[in-house]
């Protein structure tokens, strides 16, 4: 069970593909500084095997060979290794709870900083921006939207989504307790919806890895959803440590629907704020 969660680098692993994965991740790290070594083994294995097929390599070692010698392949491989799935107001209840329980606290601060870690293609950021605008906090808030996938970041900055996803988005927005019509925030053109530029006026998009980088700002709210599921325990702890040191005293941390602090080494540093919705508040002592 242990081995499944966190590959212990010191323990010899017999299986060839495990060795190959380890070596490949190491190679990627050394060459491109993308650190996937602390990711959940099962997922990484699946992603790499798909990539291997896609690139037509017989073995992972062959893939490694190509990745090392064809830097442009890395961009593509990155899109395999980082899974870009997102929606506007994904899990509407989460945003509803934010709106009802967290926003009143945030209102007491003259200026706010919100960190959306692993923002993917930006849906989460736009959800927050719309939510904060509806609640009248947008003007005093600065968002940091970070991710390790530069392609995703570019898409996030563009804010253009397929028109056929809008139906779901609109429904989610409504369920999250949206106070306005979602169509106020986008224009449609050429089968796509372009989100209002002004929504990202107060946003810094940046390449930032939870696996290797340090804290960059003091924040009032960190939302990191469906990112930790790809990490093993140690890496989850590291990421949570970053949020802990970034958050102000009594700051808020939001996680994805299947993520929890319960088994983290740092669970002591947070208290559950809204249980069903994985919203935590940093404790005094932390």
């Amino acid at each position: 069970m242990d081995a499944k969660i966190s590959p212990d680098p010191h323990r010899p692993v017999g299986r060839t593909d495990d060795i190959e994965i380890r070596l490949l991740l190491e190679a990627i790290f050394q060459k491109y500084h993308y650190d996937f070594r602390g990711y959940a083994m099962a997922s990484v294995k699946r992603r790499l095997n798909q990539a291997r097929q896609k690139f037509g390599c017989a073995t992972l070692s062959a893939l490694q060979d190509r990745v090392l010698h064809e830097p442009e392949l890395m961009t593509e491989l990155l899109s395999f290794l980082t899974v870009q799935v997102s929606e506007l107001f994904r899990d509407p209840q989460y945003f509803r709870t934010l709106r009802e329980k967290v926003i009143p606290h945030l209102r007491t601060y003259p200026s706010l900083k919100v960190w959306i870690a692993g923002c993917s293609t930006g849906e989460e950021l736009y959800s927050f921006a719309i939510l904060f605008r509806e609640e009248g906090l947008e003007s005093r808030t600065l968002f940091y939207a970070t991710d390790i996938n530069p392609e995703a970041l570019k898409k996030a900055e563009a804010g253009i989504y397929d028109l056929d996803r809008l139906k779901l988005f609109t429904e989610n927005h409504r369920l999250s307790g949206g106070k306005s019509s979602l169509s106020d925030y986008y224009r449609t053109a050429y089968g796509a919806a372009v989100f209002d530029k002004s929504l990202r006026k107060n946003c810094v998009f940046s390449d930032h890895s939870l696996a290797t980088d340090a804290v960059f700002a003091e924040t009032h709210l960190c939302s990191c959803r469906n990112v930790l599921i790809y990490f093993d325990c140690a890496l989850q702890d590291r990421a949570i440590g970053l949020f802990q040191s970034s958050l102000i005293r009594k700051g808020f941390l939001g996680l994805g629907a299947k993520e929890t602090l319960r088994f983290s080494r740092r669970s002591e540093a947070f208290s559950e704020f809204a249980r069903g919705e994985r919203l935590y508040q940093k404790r005094d002592l932390a």
Partner: protein, 1175 residues
């Protein structure tokens, strides 16, 4: 009845309780305690009953024995009476006889004399006899034959008396003869004789009765005596028995109380949701303390074996088994038995008691298998050095079930927890799979669409491709050849570059370290050698004095070398300052001549100085440095010349002035000539070794020459002599810019961060150096934590703390200090800055950022000068080593004063009456007093003569804006300025917020949740030690400012959007005299630079630039800065949160001079700024 009831209800209750304990830890525990209490009460009742029963028995016994005594006494009495009765009878019989004789005598007297007087006894005897007879009759009532005899006697008496009466009557009537006739009939005598016979019979009978009665009495007496004796003995026995029973009951009660409180305590210790190891540890601690055990071990069932879960008082290196199985060893036997096992006076147990001072084997051991529902969940072993409380085994027996149940529920909990964790992991895994699936799906759709499109285009492209293919192949071949060549060349260059970089880095590191590390010890050994060679004590031999002198002179040499190294490293680091001034060449020449004449004379060399034609009077340069170079050249010349001359010539040559030093010495071979200026290279060679000197002189001279804008060259022929020429520009432009370039031309900084001091590895320090009171520490005790790596100074502080009645903790490293502070939260801390692992300042910073420790006053002691940083980080005081004892005492006293904090006071400034009242209500508490005012004027009034711990300020006041009030407070010295919490109803613009942040760390906008936050922030303020500065501290600060003149008045532009960092950086640099301008993003930074460019007195000297910022990020701004010609040389240090090397390279590539990784380290940042700050 009651007892039976309790007992019969027990099994049921017991079962239910077990189930409950397993199901829900907490509730089960409570039931358990109740049950225990009940059982204890049962036992209590039983002993009470026995005691009362025996008391009742005693009472009954005493009543009975009393009654027996009473009866005895009565019998005795009666017997005495009876004896007395016989006595009376005897007496009465005698009486009667004597009365009769009296009567007879009287009659005879009368008959003889005829005198009536003789008749008196006779007359008196008549009634007396009657009385006596009646008395006798009464006395003899119970004896019938005696009565009969008495009646017979009565007959005789009657006849005798009748005869007497007749004779008397006859005498009187007929005269004596008639009377005599009657007498002679002898009837009277016969009566008397018969009577005598009867009396004697009766007397005999009575005597024998009396004898019998006496015997009877004797017997009664003996019986009485015996019964008294017996009852006394029984009484004693009973009393003893009862006493024994009562005392036994008391012991039992004490024991049961002991057991009961032991069980209750144990249950309490096991209460709550504890992990197995916590549980085991708690159980052990409790049991060991309760039973005075010295060592203990806890084994919990783990499958079929038992695994050690906790120990108590056992040394780490003990050979105690980690686990055992059924039947293995004593522990295993105990499991088989299922009963507690007590072993006394054992020779060798596997348990060991360990303390700092030694290890012992316990003499007595109790092993307890903890069992419930027939399953042994744990085994506990207790070891005792001495005898243990007698009920211990019993207690353990009883605790067995509690422990077992607790262990079981802990195990259940752990299992549950791990199941939960597993489920959580699976659900995460599922989520990743579902996300992946979605992506795959999308991708598939995308692919099939793309496939169709591309298929059409493919045909067409195929043709095109084939055509171009041929061409391409051709080109590729060519390119490949070129590329190979290129890459080979590049590789070579790269290798060279790396080598170069490395050697220069090694050198810098070496220089920095060595000079610093060597000077200190050398200084003291020089002083000591000097003391020795002075031989003030007069007790050294000539030879020894000579030795001392040798030590001193070698030391001097060494010091000279170190000074040289230091010089060199200074120049290379660009820290050597140049002070240009007009230098008279004539004077220079004559000074030098005077200085070297003695040396030359000693070696019989001719010393010539020559001033060439057209040489100007003066040249503008740094006299000291120029002299240093020339002296070095001259002394080398003298040193390497055995015969001939040394010549110093000053000439002019095309706008330059040339100083040549020419000798006729050994000369330098052509292959060595280019090496002589290289530091260390030459030192490897043999030259310096042969002729003494550091070998660095020439390197320094060359660097100095460069600094002065000149060059130094050598021409020489082996065996003929050498000529060194220093050429300086005549007219040097000593403008600031030029200088800056020159000083900076010095070698490039190594790629890594230039560090102020190389980090030394953490050395684990044995704590035993200086003792420590951590064992003695109790909650509420006054304690001081001394953080000091020098054991002797730590010792001094330790003793001082004791003198002042503090307990003292000692930590030697920064990590240790943090850990100790967090664990023991001492009342105060004395902190050294120079610690082996990290700077003490980092400790201070961490202490002040940790809620648990930030209230602890810290006094900083240091050999270096960090006064300002320390105070601004929140230290209460600062001392520079060496420190006098009085100063130390003073510091301790100040810490002490801190500890006796009076009532906290809060000032509330709020214009709205209702809110003011509400806030007072909210904030006031037992030890917090609120003073509320409504206007700025009132606020000032209050602050003039009172100090507050904290102030809550509304921004809109009727007479002034809150902001201007704050400004006034910060400027006017006459007001106290407590920490401020701004509490305002309106939103605040970013700029206003920045302005307010200067005075107030927390700003709260009123709203639904604001009271909660206000209370929270106020509480926080009140718990932290406010870093207000006393006047002497302020003086210290001013001094500190002057010391760091380099930053005084310099302008630093901080481009950063994170308030926390803005605050920190401002706090670091402003006290050092630097002026901080702030830009929130790249664009603002460019604006600020633009604006200040034209104003010479506001020009920015250095920029600290964050990378991640809104609007324009740091890298873009950096590039823009470098695009502008005017800012080409502006030093910019970038602050980055990215850890990757390439990110940092990107900073440099964008034009940054240096970078620093976040989180920011105060010391590093200051030194980095010092390095880059233009001189």
């Amino acid at each position: 009845m009651l007892l039976i009831g309790c007992l019969s209800s027990r099994p049921y209750g017991h079962q239910r309780q077990t189930v409950a304990a397993v199901g829900r830890g907490g509730i089960g525990d409570a039931t358990l305690i109740n049950l225990l209490k009940k059982a204890a009460t049962d036992r209590q009742l039983r002993t009470d009953l026995i005691i009362s029963l025996s008391l009742a028995m005693i009472a009954v016994f005493f009543v009975i024995s009393g009654m027996i005594s009473f009866l005895n006494v009565r019998t005795l009495n009666r017997n005495a009476e009876l004896v007395a009765e016989t006595h009376e009878v005897l007496l009465g019989l005698n009486n009667i006889m004597s009365l009769l004789k009296d009567a007879e005598t009287g009659q005879r007297g009368f008959l003889l004399t005829g005198e009536a007087a003789y008749l008196q006894p006779y007359e008196e005897a008549l009634p007396a006899v009657e009385n006596q007879m009646m008395a006798l009759e009464r006395a003899m009532e119970s004896q019938p034959h005696q009565v009969r005899r008495l009646q017979a006697m009565q007959g005789h008496i009657d006849s005798k008396l009748a005869e007497l009466t007749r004779t008397v009557d006859l005498y009187r009537q007929e005269g004596p003869d008639a009377a005599l006739v009657v007498i002679r009939r002898n009837r009277g005598k016969a009566d008397m004789d018969a009577m005598r016979g009867l009396v004697s019979d009766m007397q005999d009978e009575t005597r024998s009765i009396r004898q019998a009665r006496l015997v009877e009495r004797q017997e009664a007496f003996v019986t009485a005596f015996a019964s008294v004796l017996i009852s006394a003995v029984i009484g004693v026995i009973l009393s003893v028995a009862i006493t024994w029973m009562i005392s036994r009951a008391a012991t039992l009660r004490r024991r049961s109380e002991w057991l009961q409180s032991g069980q209750a305590g144990l249950s309490a210790a096991l209460l709550g949701e504890q992990r197995l190891d916590q549980l085991a540890r708690n159980a052990l601690i409790y049991l060991a303390k309760y039973t005075d055990a010295h060592a203990a071990a806890f084994y919990a069932a783990d499958g079929s074996a038992y695994k050690r879960a906790a120990t108590y008082g056992v040394p780490v290196d003990d050979d105690l088994p980690k686990n055992f199985t059924r039947g293995q060893g004593l522990l295993g036997e105990a499991v088989v038995d299922g009963k507690a096992m007590v072993i006394n006076n054992i020779a060798d147990s596997h348990l060991t008691v360990g303390a700092a001072l030694g290890q012992w084997r316990p003499k007595h051991v109790i092993i307890l298998p903890a069992k419930s529902d027939g399953v042994i969940e744990a085994v506990i072993e207790l070891g005792f050095l001495h005898a243990y409380p007698p009920a211990t085994a019993d207690l353990l027996e009883r605790a067995s079930e509690v422990i077992s149940v607790a262990v079981r529920s802990a195990n259940y909990r752990a299992a549950l927890e791990s199941f939960l964790e597993e489920t959580q992991r699976q659900s995460q895994e599922l989520q990743t799979q579902s996300e992946e699936l979605r992506v795959n799906n999308e991708e598939l759709e995308e692919q099939s669409r793309a496939l169709k499109e591309s298929h059409v285009r493919l045909e067409q492209q195929q043709a095109e491709l084939e055509q171009t293919n041929y061409l391409l192949q051709e080109q590729a071949a060519q390119l490949e050849v070129q590329r190979d060549d290129l890459s080979r060349a590049k590789d070579e260059v790269d290798v060279k570059a790396i080598e170069l970089e490395q050697s220069s880095r090694y050198k810098s590191d070496f220089l920095a370290n060595m000079s610093h590390e060597l000077r200190t010890p050398l200084n003291s050994s020089l002083i000591l050698a000097k003391l020795l060679s002075d031989n003030t004590g007069g007790n050294l031999t000539e030879e020894q004095v000579e030795f001392a002198r040798t030590i001193q002179s070698s030391g001097d040499d060494l010091l000279a070398l170190i000074n040289d190294i230091l010089d060199l490293s200074k120049i290379e680091a660009g820290q050597m300052e140049i002070h240009p001034e007009p230098v008279s060449l004539k004077r220079l020449a004559s000074d030098l001549e005077r200085a070297f004449a003695p040396v030359a004379a000693q070696k019989s060399l001719t010393l010539i100085t020559r001033l060439g034609a057209g040489v100007p009077e003066t040249v503008i340069t740094d006299r000291q440095r120029l002299e240093q170079v020339l002296k070095n050249l001259l002394s080398n010349a003298c040193k390497f010349t055995e015969a001939g001359s040394v010549e110093l010539a000053i000439l002019q040559d095309e706008g330059r002035i040339v100083f040549t030093v020419k000798d006729t010495g050994i000369g330098i071979s052509p292959e060595h000539q280019h090496l002589v200026f290289d530091a260390f290279r030459q030192a490897d060679g043999t030259i310096s070794r042969k002729y003494g000197g550091t070998g660095l002189g020439l390197s320094i001279s060359r660097e100095l020459s460069r600094l002065l804008g000149g060059t130094l060259a050598v021409a020489s022929q082996l065996g003929l002599g050498s000529t060194f020429s220093l050429s300086l520009p005549l007219a040097n432009d000593w403008s600031r810019d030029e200088l800056r370039r020159d000083t900076k031309v010095a070698p490039p900084l190594p790629a890594g961060l230039p560090e102020p001091l190389p980090e030394r590895p953490a050395i684990p320090m044995p704590r035993s150096d200086v003792g420590d009171d951590r064992e003695k520490l109790k909650a509420g005790a006054r304690s001081i934590l001394v953080v000091e790596d020098d054991p002797s100074f730590a010792r001094i502080l330790y003793d001082l703390a004791h003198d002042l009645d503090f307990l003292c903790l000692v930590a030697h490293t920064a990590e240790d200090a943090m850990a100790t502070a967090q664990q023991y939260t001492p009342s105060a801390i004395v902190l050294d800055v120079g610690l082996p692992d990290h700077s003490g300042l980092s400790v201070l910073d961490r202490l002040k950022r940790d809620v648990r420790t930030r209230h602890i006053p810290v006094h900083v002691v240091s050999a270096g000068d960090y006064a300002h940083t320390a105070l601004s980080l929140g230290a209460v005081g600062y001392m520079l080593k060496p420190v006098k004892r009085e100063e130390l005492i003073d510091a301790f006293k100040r810490l002490e004063a801190r500890l006796d904090q009076p009532m906290r006071q809060i000032l509330i400034v709020e214009d709205d009456e209702v809110q003011r009242h509400a806030m007072c209500k909210l904030l006031a508490s037992q030890d917090v007093e609120c003073v509320a005012v409504g206007t700025a004027a009132e606020c000032l009034e209050k602050l003039k003569d009172q100090t507050f711990d904290c102030m809550v300020l509304d921004l809109s006041l009727p007479d002034a804006s809150g902001y201007s009030l704050l400004e006034t407070l910060s400027q006017e010295e006459s007001y106290a300025f407590p920490p401020v919490i701004v509490y305002t109803g309106r939103e605040i613009s970013y700029d206003d917020e920045q302005k307010l942040r200067r005075y107030s760390r927390s700003i709260i906008i009123k709203g639904a949740k604001s009271p909660e936050r206000l209370l929270d922030e106020v509480t926080l303020f009140l718990h932290q030690v406010v870093a207000e500065l006393s006047p002497e501290q302020q003086k210290l600060l001013k001094k500190a400012k002057h010391r760091d003149a380099m930053l005084e008045g310099r302008r630093i532009l901080l481009v950063e959007d994170d308030v926390r960092n803005v605050y920190a950086v401002t706090n670091i640099f402003e006290p050092l005299g630097a002026i901080i301008a702030i830009a929130r993003n790249g664009r603002e930074a460019l604006d600020t630079l633009d604006k200040t460019q034209e104003l010479p007195d506001q020009a920015i000297d250095l920029v600290l630039m964050d990378v991640m910022m809104p609007e324009m990020d740091g890298l873009t701004a950096m590039r823009k800065i470098r695009e502008n010609k005017a800012w080409k040389k502006l030093p910019v240090i970038m602050l980055t949160a990215k850890a990757m090397k390439d990110d940092q390279e990107r900073c440099i590539a964008a034009g940054a001079n240096d970078y620093m990784a976040k989180p920011l380290d105060v010391d590093k940042l200051v030194s980095l700024v010092r390095v880059w700050m233009p001189k």
